[in-house]
Structures are given as C-alpha cells and as structure tokens.
C-alpha cells in the first residue's frame, strides 16, 4: 500500500533519508523523527503560525504540509538560523535587543516569517510589518516589541540561511 514512503530531505543543511507514514505532518516529522523541537505546534490547523518553517526559501506552515510533500526539499527551522559558531542571525539578535519575546513559544514562527518578509522588503513601513506578521499569534508581548525588532532589523543583510 502507499501508506509509507521513503523521503530524502535536507533540514538545516543536514541530509536525511527516512521512511515515514504518509499521514505524518512535516511538523511532527521535524519534531519527533528528527528530534528538532524548536519548531512549535500551537493550533495545528494553520491559524497561529508557530510551526512556520522555510521550505525551498519560502515560509510554509509545517502543520499543513505532509512530510512526504517535503521529499527532495530543503528545510530551514529555527535551529538552522544561527552560525555554526553560535553567532545569532541578525533577526534573532534584533529580537534579543528589543525584548521581543517572553515565553518564546511563538518566536520560531515569527523569525522565519520576518526573514522572508525582510528579504523581499528591505525598507518596510510599520504598517507593512504588521501586515506581514498578521498570520503569527503571540499571547505574551502585545506585538509592539516584535514589530520594533523587525523594523530595527530592516536593511541589515539577511544571511542566506532561511
């Protein structure tokens, strides 16, 4: 039966070959098969944005994508953002400097979303930032510090890691 499939997928620059159930979500694959638990699951139906990862350079909801659909793809998650020597990605640095997180649950999704946005819009208005982040929910900070962080990171060069 076509209920299991072997997939090849690169996650955070490491290539994996795994056999997965066809109904496994990409989020569960990343968290439970690859044990990279930085990608978080909130609503599991596409509303909260916590599970956002980058697939082939585009942000996607990993809860709304099947692992088998990622066959052949390159994925970047929060774990892949910093340099190998531990240097933070500029957007991580901006979140740190602006106190843009409290519990941190939503942060991985915000970071991946913000990186894609800033790559396409290096000089955004605050309104554009708010629109771009509207699909990510945060229940701690009230968003102001998150918007400040993204505005402060605008214009800095985005390394090609997501």
């Amino acid at each position: 039966m076509s209920r299991e499939k072997t997939i090849q997928v690169t996650v955070n620059r490491v290539a994996y070959e795994k056999t997965v159930s066809v109904r496994r979500s990409l989020a569960d694959f990343i968290r439970e098969d690859l044990h990279q638990t930085g990608t978080h699951l909130g609503c599991e139906h596409g509303v909260c944005g916590a599970c956002t990862v980058s697939m082939n350079g585009r942000s996607i909801r990993s809860c709304l994508t099947l692992a088998v659909q990622a066959d052949g793809a390159e994925i970047t998650t929060i774990e892949g953002l910093r340099e190998e020597d531990g240097t933070l990605h500029p957007i991580q640095e901006a979140f740190h400097q602006n106190f843009a997180l409290q519990c941190g649950y939503c942060t991985p999704g915000f970071l991946i979303t913000a990186i894609e946005f800033l790559k396409e819009n290096p000089d955004p208005t605050e309104r554009q930032v708010r629109e771009a982040l509207s699909g990510n929910l945060c229940r701690c900070t009230g968003y102001q510090a998150i918007v400040d962080a993204v505005m402060s990171a605008a214009g800095t060069e985005m390394p090609d890691r997501a």
């Binding site: 139906h45 509303v47 709304l64 946005f117």
Partner: protein, 320 residues
C-alpha cells in the same frame, strides 16, 4: 485555513482532540489515506477516476489539511498534484488571464502583469489569509473549495470568468456562476479536477473596487463586495457587483447591476445611485445568524461594503 471557529462542535475543539490523541498514544492527526504523487496529469486523472467519491486533490493543502487534521473530511485517496509539470501556468494574454491549478496566491501578487491588467484580482488576493498561507494555497483550490467567505470565488464571478475541468473523459469549461453550487459545494463530479481558471480582461478604463470587513487582518470576511464598472460620457455602461461572506457562496447582485447599467453616473449624483444599489443588495440578501455576526449586522455590512466598493471603482474609472 478553515475558520478559526464556527465549523466545529464545542466538544471537538482542536485542543480537546489533541489531548484525546495523546491519551490514545496516537501522534497522527489525519485519518488513513493512500497517498499518490503522480508526475503527469493523465496519471492524476486516472487515480481520481478510480477513487470516485473517495478521492481528493491535494494542491496547496491550506484548507484540506486542517479539514483532515480535524477529521472533517475522510478521503481514502489523496492525489498530490504538486509534482505535475505544466499545471503552474500563469499567462496574462491580450484577452484573458489563465491561472493553472498550481498557481499560488503569492504568484499572483508577484506578477506585475496581473496588477496592471486584473487589478481587482490582485487587490482581493492581498486580503487572502496571510503571506505564509498565500505561499502554498492555490487559486484553483480556493475556487474548488468554495468557502462562502473566501475572496476568489467572488472575484472569478465578477470577472465573468470560467473554470476548466478535466477528467479521464476529457475537458469541459464551465462559466463561474454555473460552477458554484451552494456552501462549500460545486458542480465538480467525482473523478474531475479543476485544472485552470480563465479571467477575461476587464474592459479598457474599467474601475475596480474590492472592500471586505474582517475582525482581524487575514481573517475570513464577514462581508465583502467586488465591483467592476465602466462609465462612458457620464453614463454607466456596465456594472458587475458580487457580494461575498454570506449566503451559500459568491452572490451576484443582479438587481443592483441592472439599476446602475445605463443610468447617468457622475461624481455628483453617484451618492444617490450607490445608496439605491446598496439597498437593492441588502434586500436581495438573506444571511443567517452565526457566531461571527448576526444576520442584520451582516446585511448592514453588505450595504456599506457595496457603497465603498462602488465609490472606489468610480474613482478609478478611466485609470490606465
């Protein structure tokens, strides 16, 4: 994305379902299905034909996956069309725009030819969910899904567009209005799939307006209106007006269209005519109360959205 609330019984919240799954030691959300990722349209149609009522097309998955995760739908065969070449056609021709089954919402927004030739479509697409959802979700998928609160069905109707449908028996083309068939329902038969949408190029100098009201940015609209308007020498030649967010799907406001077509329409008298058009729209609507809005609030909003969309369209008439 399905509605954050409203379609599920209070007993079946995602949180409770997740906790039941954890208790059962089960980490898989959707029901079982056979998964196929064919590389040709012929193979996909063959699979859909064999599956009949039990088959579903998986394109962007932004509505289908939540429905699977919540077990609202239970197809035994999923046909993932993402690996089929040639379904991502996005072609802005002199007479029409062709949108293939794998064109994502975000693809429309990145194409300057669409902003220029089909600005109503481009404007409405900016209101479809959020950027990340727009990266995956497809226009054909939204039309096939026919959520009454979605933008794309109404925009296709406003353009007088059509839907190209394929099956193992061949292809057929259906006008948009004959395609939509009640809430989340279309005239698509088992074994068929939508392979392309066609949007005729709006007349030269047509003004467009799209306004919707949602509680938060990116939410489904409680009410919205889409307008294409042509005015020649102070007389309204053609008016197309579609209401979204209520009823069973996109609702073409024919009475209001007929009221406007042929009547004198200038900045001076537009207020009166647009108010009359909004009243026609409100009289034609019979929305139901739901958790998002009461029927009377929805009807009121539809009138306001109609007026605003008409004003926006008139202000743009003649812009090239």
């Amino acid at each position: 994305m399905v509605r954050p609330s409203g379609q599920l019984s209070p007993q079946a919240t995602p949180g409770r379902m997740a906790s039941r799954r954890r208790q059962a030691g089960c980490k898989l959300k959707p029901p079982w299905f056979d998964y196929h990722a064919p590389e040709s349209l012929e193979a996909a149609l063959e699979l859909l034909d064999n599956a009949g009522y039990d088959g579903r097309v998986l394109a962007g998955g932004q509505s289908l996956m939540p429905m699977l995760n919540m077990r609202i739908v239970n197809p035994s065969v999923l046909v993932d069309i993402n690996r089929i070449e040639g379904l991502d056609t996005l072609e802005a021709g002199p007479d029409q725009l062709r949108v293939g089954a794998l064109v994502r919402h975000a693809d429309l927004l990145r194409d300057p030819a669409i902003r220029e030739g089909w600005p109503l479509l481009a404007e409405a697409t900016t209101q479809v969910a959020h950027p990340t959802i727009r990266n995956r979700g497809t226009v054909c998928g939204s039309v096939s899904h026919n959520d009454p609160a979605a933008e794309h069905p109404g925009i296709l109707v406003t353009h007088g567009g059509s839907v190209v449908i394929a099956s193992t028996k061949g292809q057929r083309k259906v006008p948009a209005e004959a395609f939509f068939d009640g809430m989340m329902s279309t005239t698509l038969d088992p074994g068929e799939m939508v392979i392309e949408l066609r949007y005729p190029r709006p007349p030269r100098g047509a003004g467009h307006g799209f306004v919707e009201f949602a509680r938060r940015l990116g939410d489904f609209a409680i009410a919205g209106a889409a307008v294409l308007l042509t005015v020649e020498n102070g007389v309204c030649e053609t008016a197309r007006l579609t209401i979204i967010g209520m009823g069973d799907g996109p609702l073409r406001a024919r009475a209001a269209e007929e009221l406007m077509a042929g009547s004198a329409l200038t900045q001076q008298n537009s207020g009166e005519i647009f108010t009359a058009a909004a009243q026609d729209v409100m009289a034609a609507l019979d929305p139901a109360d739901d958790v998002h809005a009461s029927a009377s609030y929805r009807r009121h909003l539809a009138g306001v959205m109609t007026q605003r969309a008409l004003e926006a369209a008139l202000a743009r008439v003649g812009d090239q």
